[in-house]
């Protein structure tokens, strides 16, 4: 039995000296006691055994660092998707067709697509023997349900714009492996559209709460903004992944991703600025995957805001850009010069358009003709991607040579999106191939077209493109590129490489012309 503590008033009877002494004695005793208790508690807590954490070199788990996205979900059709969500979607879900790392269009969940004579109805043959990651069969009912979900405007699916010509009432299953899709307008490049990461097939009834896909991996744990754990889908129809699991950990900045890679907490840093990538590549045990693709960072000029409605002003600003300087200073050399138009498809010959070079005198003349010699404006950017701010700064320096004053207005992502379509000048990026770019952001009235550029010749050519199949598409797209180059509303100074530092024990990564090398993980191994 513990002795009773003295009554609280007991000390009051004591003299002042005694009272002081009592406290003096108690305080030093209390301190070691607290310290001992703290040490014991700490020891007890430390003794709790943590779960086994995957470490580098266990051969089975690939650990990827990605950018934080607290708003992410597993729903591949959600609006507002970040690169992190799309990277995960590419491992979990598949489309009817797909793009190879070289940009070649291959069959995915479909094996054949046949149009009727006037391109208003397409018959899709599905790949037999495909199963979802939960073991159930993939059938035509799932395709009908997936298209139905995507096509319903109430779901605000990000990929809706690409399939607007589909008549939702005319999508039906012919048999278990055949789907017939009726369109409201003729459309030729039907096959190309389905390779988009925003248009995968999911199990009927599983979206949006618990989507199930047919991809090479399946989800075992998911915490938005923190972590995703994937495991190999052993029932996958294609080449099975060599790694047993993929762990994606999200970090709030690219420096943290680099630190995690350097201290061997992850195998791959999925995002790196050129500066970080260069410094990491010099470290022992780290290599750099450099995807030289068609990814563009560009300055958009809103044609509904004066003076950007005047093509002479737009051309003058394009003539001011020193593209070599943008490549070397903004992107550390990890980019190549672009010519104010988006990239074509790798299978088409490049358009025969002379490369635009800086010409300050001509720019001055054009500005004078337009009555804009003392032009001054701000470029808005959310600085989301490496190089955005740097590109604007190089442009501001270039523009100053012709007396044009350019300021940089760095805003938060929410503010940037809230005023989307209203900014007079802004920085945008485009990771998608040409056809979805045309549909999503170069035609008038599209949400993605924040420049509000509306060129009748370009629209007419787009209509021709939508009726074309095969090689005839190349000739049309090259003519469209020429219009972009001569009259467009985007200053596109460079095609930017996607840099991915990784541990040298990671083998089998392939550079991707589409800038998404993490979509191709089936051949990847993590050595000891």
């Amino acid at each position: 039995m513990t002795p009773r503590p003295p009554h609280p008033t007991a000390g009051r009877r004591r003299t002042g000296t005694h009272r002081t002494r009592t406290h003096r004695v108690r305080t030093p005793r209390a301190l070691p006691a607290t310290a001992v208790a703290a040490v014991l508690v700490a020891a007890a807590l430390a003794g709790c055994s943590p779960p086994q954490r995957s470490t580098g070199g266990d051969g089975g788990t690939l650990r990827i660092a990605a950018a934080t996205d607290v708003g992410e979900s597993l729903n591949p059709y959600a609006s507002n998707q970040s690169p992190t969500q799309q990277m995960r979607s590419a491992l979990l879900y598949e489309g009817l067709t797909r793009l190879s790392p070289e940009g070649r269009l291959d069959w995915g969940l479909a094996t054949e697509m046949t149009p009727n004579a006037d391109l208003t109805e397409w018959t899709i043959r599905l790949r037999p023997g495909v199963r979802f990651s939960d073991g159930s069969d993939f059938t035509s009912a799932d395709v009908v349900a997936s298209i139905g979900h995507l096509r319903d405007p109430a779901h605000a699916a990000q990929g809706l714009a690409f399939i607007e010509r589909i008549d939702p009432a005319a999508v039906r299953a012919v048999d278990r492996e055949t789907v017939r899709v009726g369109l409201s307008k003729p459309f030729g490049p039907f096959k190309e559209i389905w390779a988009n990461v925003l248009l995968p097939m999911t199990k009927a009834g599983s979206v949006p709460d618990a989507p199930v896909g047919t991809g090479p991996f399946a989800v075992t744990a998911f915490t938005p903004g923190r972590e995703t754990r994937l495991t190999r889908n052993d029932g996958y129809w294609g080449d099975k992944p060599k790694v047993a699991a993929v762990h994606i950990t999200e970090y709030q900045n690219q420096q943290a991703q680099a630190n995690a890679l350097l201290s061997d907490q992850v195998d791959i840093a999925s995002g790196a600025t050129p500066t970080i990538a260069k410094s990491l590549a010099d470290e022992d045990g780290i290599e750099l995957l450099d995807s030289k693709g068609d990814y563009t960072l560009r300055i958009g000029l809103n044609t509904t805001v004066a003076p950007f409605g005047d093509v002479r002003v737009r051309q003058a600003l394009r003539l001011l850009v020193d593209r070599e300087q943008v490549v070397s200073n903004a992107f550390g050399g990890y980019a190549r010069v672009a010519n104010d138009h988006e990239a074509g498809t790798p299978q088409c010959a490049a358009p025969d358009i002379p490369q635009r070079a800086p010409d300050v005198e001509r720019a001055r003349r054009l500005l004078a003709e337009a009555g804009q010699s003392g032009l001054s404006f701000s470029i808005a950017t959310d600085g989301l991607l490496p190089g955005m701010q740097e590109m604007a700064q190089v442009f501001a320096e270039n523009a100053a040579k012709a007396g044009v004053r350019v300021d940089l207005d760095v805003v938060t992502v929410p503010e940037f999106l809230a005023k989307w379509g209203q900014w007079p000048a802004f920085i945008d990026f485009n990771p998608t191939p040409y056809l979805p770019t045309v549909i999503g952001s170069l035609l008038p009235g599209r949400v993605g077209n924040a420049t509000h550029w509306d060129n009748p010749d370009f629209v007419a050519l787009a209509d021709q493109l939508f009726l074309a199949t095969g090689q005839e598409q190349c000739a049309i797209t090259n003519r469209m590129h020429r219009i972009e180059n001569e009259q467009g509303a985007m200053i596109t100074p460079a095609f930017v490489n996607v840099l991915m530092p990784h541990r040298d024990r990671v083998r089998g990564l392939v550079p991707d012309v589409g800038g998404r090398p993490l979509s191709f993980l089936t051949g990847v191994t993590v050595g000891g």
């Binding site: 700490a42 709790c48 607290v70 990000q158 915490t223 923190r226 943290a256 630190n259 929410p414 809230a418």
Partner: protein, 329 residues
Amino acid sequence: MPTPTTRTRAPRRGSPPAPARRLLRRLLIGVLVLLLVSLLLFLVTQALPGDVARIVLGKDATADQVADLRQRLGLDQPLVAQYWNWLSGMLTGQMGTSLENGEPVADVVGPRIFNSFALGFGSMVLIIPIAVVVGVATAHRRDSALDKAFVAVSSLFTALPAFVVGMLLIALFATSVLDVLPGVSTIPPGDLPWWYPAELVLPITTLTLMGVMYLGRLVRASFIDAMNSEYVQMAVLKGLSGRRVLFRHALPNALAAGLPAAGLVAAVTITGVVVVEYVYSYPGLGTAVVSAVNSHDLPVMQAGILVLATAYYAFNLLADVLAVVGRNR
């Protein structure tokens, strides 16, 4: 009927003692301060640019969908009504759901509070004894090389922001010089922070260094004061041993003067935790608030900041209480 004056002069027996009354008054003022903080917080977050509904739904949503969400979130109501709904929700534990991912705010913020607490508590457990030992040792050997070195180094640390110290430690121990500790401190969701002691070392060291450099100087100063005081001089004159003078006479009084500062250091550590969490990608309340600010997630932002403000206030109050206790002793 007794006048208020008579009441205050009532006999002490039966009424709370003066320190308790003072504490009660401080608590009431504290509640008022926190109410003001909540009002300010609400107004500032409302003034952030951008339409929340548009931000949540993204570019691809139609105007009708945006209007519908605005109505569901109550954003079309007057500001006063919105504030009242929010405040009454906070007080009754109904903190709403995250705009970003639809999860209850309590589920988002709760585990984060725990993680931040682990970091703050771990640091304070180290800061207080180390600061006392360092402060007493340097004061005891005043003007020695050790003392001068400590004063110089602590001045430097006081001038350095926490994130610079954090990044220096990462470069030293995790990435550039030595490769002995993790460079980031991610704790998997659902796991407890102390399951990953290696991950805690650098964040706790950063906070501890910052705290010790500040509190150590205060302890040093109050110990020097105590050693110069008349009662210590008297003890020395009485012929008491140096050890006895140090531990029985000077130290307890120096500590009594230093304790309120420990409360303040705890309050300052809260702000340090926010910065340190960001530098180390530690999943605490600070990183949750940073994410919420970046993504305009008002419910998470408001709840997180209110928790931080309340904790800050609580530690300030503790500092005041300790000051009163110290004075009485």
